[in-house]
Structure formats: C-alpha cells, structure tokens
Amino acid sequence: MTCDEAEILIHALIDGELDAGHAREVEAHVAQCPRCAASLAAYRQMSQAIASADLRYSAPQSLRLRVEAALPKPTMLVAAAPSRRNVLRGFALGSGLSAIAATGLFAIVLRNDDQERINSEIVSAHLRSLQAGHLTDVLSTDQHTVKPWFNGRLDVAPPVIDLTAQGFTLIGGRLDYVDARPIGAVVYKRRAHVINLFVAQTSSTARRPARTETIQGFNIRTWSERGLNFWAISDIGADELVEFSDKFEAAARTNTEG
C-alpha cells in the first residue's frame, strides 16, 4: 500500500468502515510508515475531540412549534384507525406522482451490494481463465508444487488439496484479480469441465454457511471457513459443485497439510 492510498484509507479505518482485510493492510502500512502513523494518531485524536465536544444544535422550541403547525394536524387522526387500504392507496397514488429526485436516492440504496458485485467479478475471472490459455500460472497435479507457488504472491495461503481420488483432478494454480485485489485460484477439472476455486481472506471470522447461486449459466458455490472465503465456480451441475465443496471441506478438515 502506498502513502497516497493510506492517506484516504486511514479515515475509513478510524470510522470503522473498512473490512478486516483492508483494515489489516492499512495497519500493516502504518506499522512501517512513521508519517502515516502520525497522521493516524492525530486524526484519531481529532475525531475523539469532535465527538466529545457537543457540536450539535437543538432546534429552538419556536421552530418545533412552527413545523408541527405546518404539518397536517394529528388531532383529526386519532379517531381514524390506521387502515391498510389507505396506506396502499397512498402508495399507489404516490408512485404516480413521484416528481422527486429521491428516486435517484433509491437507485443508490438498492444498488448491488458488495457480495453481488464480487460474484459477478468471479464470473468474469472464470471466463477470462477459460480464454486464451491462461488457465494456470503453475501447471501441476501435485499439491506440493501448487501450494508453495502461491507463497509471496498472496497475503493468504490457499489450501491446495488433491481431490483426484474423489473425482476432481487438480491441474494447477493461478493468480487472478477480483475486487481490484490479487486472489488465488486453484484450478480443478471434472471430466472436461473446469472448476476455479477462488480463495481470499474473509472480512470476518464468522463462519458463513455454503450457498449456491447461478449467474450467467455458471454455478457459484460460496462458503467461509478458517478465516478464508471460497468461491467455487464451474459449468458443472449445481449438485456436482456441492459435491466438490463438500469433498474439499472434508479433505481440508482431515488433511493436516491443509
């Protein structure tokens, strides 16, 4: 990480807006950069000072009365029981009139969340890997060749497990980019089908249950284990992908070499 990046990201760190992975990156940078460390300390103090000084204003009573007077009186409402039909009618009318820029606001609120975006990047990375012979950076069916190859290329050590006996042939490893960060891909084959298993640091230690989604005809199975996020993607059937992840996890648990 460069100082320029850190200069922005230390604020997100202070505000608790960074996921664990990025937070560790910023902290790692700060640990070896005295200038950014000083900034972080100063901004942290500043934020605390701002929070402890009472900088909010209270609306004057006169304003409160004015606003309440300008709104339709609640007195006439007390008798009227809340009617579901009225609510629905209100919405029906409203959607017709919406002469408000807030529609733009909702577009933002409803924008793809990160998970969705990353899933679609996983699909793109999978598609890229199938083109033009860039499926593997290290071509080997030997897990003891593939695993060390990742050393120094990633901030995580992806578990590389030979599943040939279980019907999934290890064919190599590759460095890819998802969400603008390097990510490890372990490549397997099932018959003629390629399975990319992407491995990245998880943003939390919480264990997330596995789930399968279908995007653009590809099945993606995602799960979290041992502080890592896994995305297995392939054009094989969803049931076979589930079989893959189950066997992978079973082997990972028993495999002391992981």
Partner: protein
C-alpha cells in the same frame, strides 16, 4: 443532474416559497390522516438532526429555521415516494436541496451577506499558548463554539461531508445517499475535510507562539 429538479425556480426567496411564518397546512394532504400521522412519527424525532445540518450548511440561525420548515413540507409532499430504508439520509437529501436553492438566492442578491457574524460576538479565544499538539489541546478545551467556527470555515462540499459523518453520525453509504455522490467521493472529501481542519488548527496555533 437530478439536483436541478430540487432547486426552486421562483425568483423570490426560495425559503419563503412555502415556509413563510404564516405557513398553512398543505390542504391536499389533509385527506390522508394515516399518512400524516406516519410522517410525523417518522420524521419529527429527527428535527434536531435536520436543524443541526441546516445550521452548518447555511451558517445562519434564522435561514436554518426556514430551511428546516421547508424541508419538512417538501418531505411531506414527497412522502409517498419514500421507500426506505433509512429516513435520516432521505431527509438530509431534501434539506440540502432546499439549501441549494437558498445558496442560489444568496448568490443572486449579493447584498445578503453570508458571513458568520452570528456567532463571532460570543466567541471565546481560540487557543492558549501551549506546547501540546493542537489535537491534544482541543481534547482539553472542548470549546464547541471554537470548533464550530473552524468547521464553518471549511469549503462547502467538505464541510457538508464532515458534518454528516462527525456530527450527524451517518455511515459512508448513508452520506453517499444523502449527497448523491459515490462512496469513493465521500471518502476523499472526508479525508480532505479532516486534513483542512487539522491544518486550520495548526494555523490557529501559529500566531500565538
């Protein structure tokens, strides 16, 4: 972009468009009492938040009051289009567009000065001579009006983002929603705002040394 639609087109004071001191209830809405009640319950608890933001955006107490009232009336008018999830960023988005109109009006009539005369009279001396860093000193000082003055001195988009984060306690995503900018823009504005505030503290310090 979108914001153009929010700006009142009338040439009269944008704030008094509907928010005059003798404002009448908006008659067309009176016939849906349930909606009116929900609106009150959802929005009135945030009156102080909206007023706080208005004070920092407009830097004038009475303009802020007018803006808040206008904001509530517009919000009620458009309440049908509100779908959630959070009401606060939605109210703030409306408020800042009310303020935009007020900025436009001020720009059109230069006679109305915008300077911070309101508070300056009761200002206490900013910093005392000290060996401490300004950051440490303010921890001790906790002088709200001094800090407010420094915040008021920030340029507009930076001040807005800073206040939404530090004083209104919005998340980055909520700020992005309220100001209609990408989260990345929010992050860089916030970094700039804090950097400017920090050097303003240093600068305040300099002459007393």
């Amino acid at each position: 972009m979108m914001s153009g639609r929010w700006v009142a087109t009338g040439r009269a004071s944008a704030l008094s468009e509907t928010a005059g001191k003798k404002a009448m209830p908006v008659s067309s809405l009176d016939n849906d009492p349930d909606k009116a009640r929900r609106f009150r319950e959802m929005t009135l608890p945030y009156l102080d938040d909206v007023y706080t933001l208005a004070r920092y955006l407009l830097r004038d107490a009475s303009d802020a009051e007018d803006a808040v009232q206008e904001c509530y009336l517009r919000a009620l008018k458009h309440f049908d289009t509100y779908r959630g999830p959070a009401i606060k960023p939605w109210l703030f988005a409306i408020l800042r567009n009310v303020c935009r109109a007020e900025f436009a009006r001020r720009a059109a009539s230069p006679a109305t000065t915008v300077d911070d005369t309101v508070e300056t009279a009761e200002q206490t001396p900013l910093w005392h001579e000290t060996q401490e860093t300004p950051e440490a000193q303010i921890l001790r000082e906790r002088d709200a009006s001094a800090v407010r003055r420094l915040i008021d001195a920030l340029a507009e988009p930076f001040r807005e983002t800073f206040v939404l984060r530090e004083i209104n306690n919005l998340s980055y995503r909520e700020i992005a929603d309220a100001v209609g900018a990408p989260v990345g823009t929010v992050m860089s504005r916030l970094a700039r705002a804090r950097a400017m505030l920090r050097s303003a503290w240093m600068a305040e310090q300099e002459p007393t040394k």
